[in-house]
């Protein structure tokens, strides 16, 4: 085992401290009973309990979840089918390049540009239909747009990893198109699809900018709620809300890690 220089060790620990100090601060003050100011009074879970009677927060939580679930399901389906379409058919090099560029746009451009483009596009569509008034539908559309790309990229890399061999083996063993898809491709792809869906889900929960630009008055999400609340000053309730979201994030992050680290194949019993 190599040892690290004490300077490197202390720098590393300081950096970790730098990452965690604010998060721990929020967590600590979320169980402090002082209503105003940042002085320690006594331990309490009061702020957490009050969260559940705050209708605006509950509504924002519901919106966040609804947005994430719907957009993830749709984006996972669209992205998976798109990935298969891109990888498993003999497109010419030019077509392939074009598809590749389109797929990478949402990944590489700053999200604020996508947000601006959506605002303008929805603004023009509003002339046609009031469906495109700012609100949940617009947010879902916006989220799906960047999620598709991430799902398709994850699923495609999995497709490439699966390779040609097993498909040829399946053909050699008399498998037709449908049987091949159902019995070989989809099961082998499942870890990739799940990883892509998890990524899409966390990206949706994490997103602020797209939601901020496309949300209407009735469709606040938790990040939007916190963002608005901060301007009115920090309160213990926001501490509690933030801590709760962090804990949920930790759970999702760890379970995603586990899932992708576990053996690569979703297994099936005889």
């Amino acid at each position: 085992m190599k040892r690290t220089h004490p300077i490197i060790t202390s720098l590393a620990l300081l950096t970790m401290g730098f990452l965690y100090l604010p998060l721990l601060g929020v967590a600590v003050f979320s169980v402090n009973s002082a209503r105003r100011g940042l002085v320690w009074k006594e331990f309490t879970f009061d702020w957490y309990i009050r969260l559940f009677s705050n209708e605006r927060i509950l509504e924002a939580a519901w919106n966040t979840l609804l947005l994430a679930v719907i957009s993830t399901i749709l984006a996972t389906i669209l992205g998976t089918v798109l990935a298969i379409g891109m990888d498993r058919f003999p497109w010419s090099k030019r077509t392939r390049n074009f598809l590749d560029i389109v797929l990478h746009i949402p990944v590489v451009i700053p999200d604020i540009i996508l947000a601006a483009a959506l605002v303008v596009a929805f603004g023009l569509l509003r002339v046609v239909s009031s469906l495109f008034d700012p609100g949940l539908l617009n947010m879902i559309i916006g989220h799906i747009t960047f999620q598709i790309a991430f799902v398709a990229l994850v699923v495609r890399s999995r497709l490439v990893a699966i390779g040609r061999d097993v498909e040829e083996a399946a053909r050699d063993l008399f498998a037709g198109n449908w049987y091949l898809l159902r019995r070989v491709i989809l099961p082998l792809l499942m870890p990739g699809i799940v990883a892509g869906a998890m990524l899409a889900f966390t990206l949706s929960l994490d997103d602020f900018v797209i939601s901020f630009f496309t949300a209407g008055p009735e469709s606040q999400t938790l990040p939007l709620y916190i963002f608005a609340a901060v301007r009115r000053g920090v309160t213990p309730q926001i501490h509690a809300l933030s801590t709760l979201i962090m804990i949920i994030t930790v759970i999702i992050a760890i379970s995603t890690e586990r899932l992708t680290r576990k053996d690569l194949f979703g297994r099936e019993k005889k």
Binding site: G142, T145, P223, S242
Partner: protein, 303 residues
């Protein structure tokens, strides 16, 4: 048998035509979506950047390059550097954020890579958690740490940097703190992948030759980690340029970045054409960055 149309594809005997037809079925839902909600809006955004803002903030389809002239600083009242300064500042903030993140990431990666197998996994998870934590929450958390009652603000006040009882925000310092803490994991995570598989024998060989620490780093470590490092750099630099949450919360009007400027046009000012023009400016900066990255990574491939 010499039939160009018949082919075997992944073990299936078929024709190119029927394959492409099936491929199109797979391709079209996703691609149609991306066309309608990504490519088309993008083109509309370009078009709008050449349109005119009506008196009440409505769009008027009158072709003009006024929005771009304004971004360059020309106005009725002569030339001002305001907008260019904001663009420049965005690049600067992105650059410094990236640089500091890289400098902090190396020790962190070395530290994690030298832990025992089990605790290495734990440390890595600890880096991943903030990576996945909502940005608004993390920016908000700095509000708390930099609040007037907290030791940092008190220290700064007693040294005379800020007035007694005022917070350490909004200002440039708070923006940098927030940005680095936001983007650090973006550099650390890819970099760690290469530090973990680093060939230490090269490093030891360099040390045996009494190379200075700086030479050991620049000649034995940096070249080995360069590909992953540049992935981290690009993952940080591009989104950092367009960052909106951190400067908005921690910089306020005092340290505006291009993200805030865009938001302003689509929000309070309701000047879509100008907002679209600024977005195009940010797009150009992004493209330049990606181009530099692509050229550099091609160079390293050829070595």
């Amino acid at each position: 048998m010499k039939n160009r149309l018949i082919m075997i594809w992944y073990g299936e005997l078929t024709t190119r035509k029927s394959l492409l037809r099936r491929g199109l079925v797979f391709l079209s839902p996703g691609m149609l979506w991306l066309m309608v909600f990504l490519v088309l809006p993008g083109l509309v955004l370009v078009a709008v950047s050449f349109a005119t803002r009506g008196a009440y903030g409505q769009l008027e389809w009158e072709y003009t390059i006024e929005n771009y002239r304004r971004l360059m600083g020309f106005s009725l009242f002569g030339w001002t550097s305001d907008y260019l300064l904001i663009l420049w500042r965005s690049v600067l903030v992105a650059f410094i954020t990236t640089l500091v993140s890289v400098i902090l990431s190396y020790p962190l990666c070395f530290f994690i890579a030298t832990r025992k197998e089990r605790s290495r996994y734990l440390w890595l998870t600890l880096v991943i958690i903030p990576f996945w934590t909502n940005m608004v929450i993390r920016a908000y958390a700095w509000f708390l740490i930099l609040a007037p009652e907290m030791p940092f603000a008190r220290l700064a006040a007693s040294l005379g940097f800020i007035a007694e009882g005022s917070p350490l925000y909004p200002n440039a310092f708070a923006v940098y703190i927030g940005m680095v803490s936001m983007f650090l994991p973006f550099v650390t995570l890819p970099l760690y992948a290469s530090v973990e598989k680093l060939d230490w024998s090269l490093v030891e060989a360099a040390q045996d030759l009494y190379a200075s620490r700086i030479r050991v780093f620049s000649q034995a470590i940096l070249p080995q980690t360069l590909p992953e490092l540049s992935v981290g750099v690009i993952l940080t630099f591009v989104p950092a340029m367009g960052m909106f949450v951190v400067p908005d919360l921690l910089g306020g009007a005092k340290y505006m970045l291009v993200g805030n400027l865009i938001q302003q046009q689509f929000g309070a000012s309701r000047d879509w054409p100008f907002g679209a023009a600024i977005s195009m400016g940010l797009m150009v900066l992004t493209m330049i960055t990606l181009q530099i990255y692509r050229r550099r990574s091609k160079e390293t491939d050829h070595r």
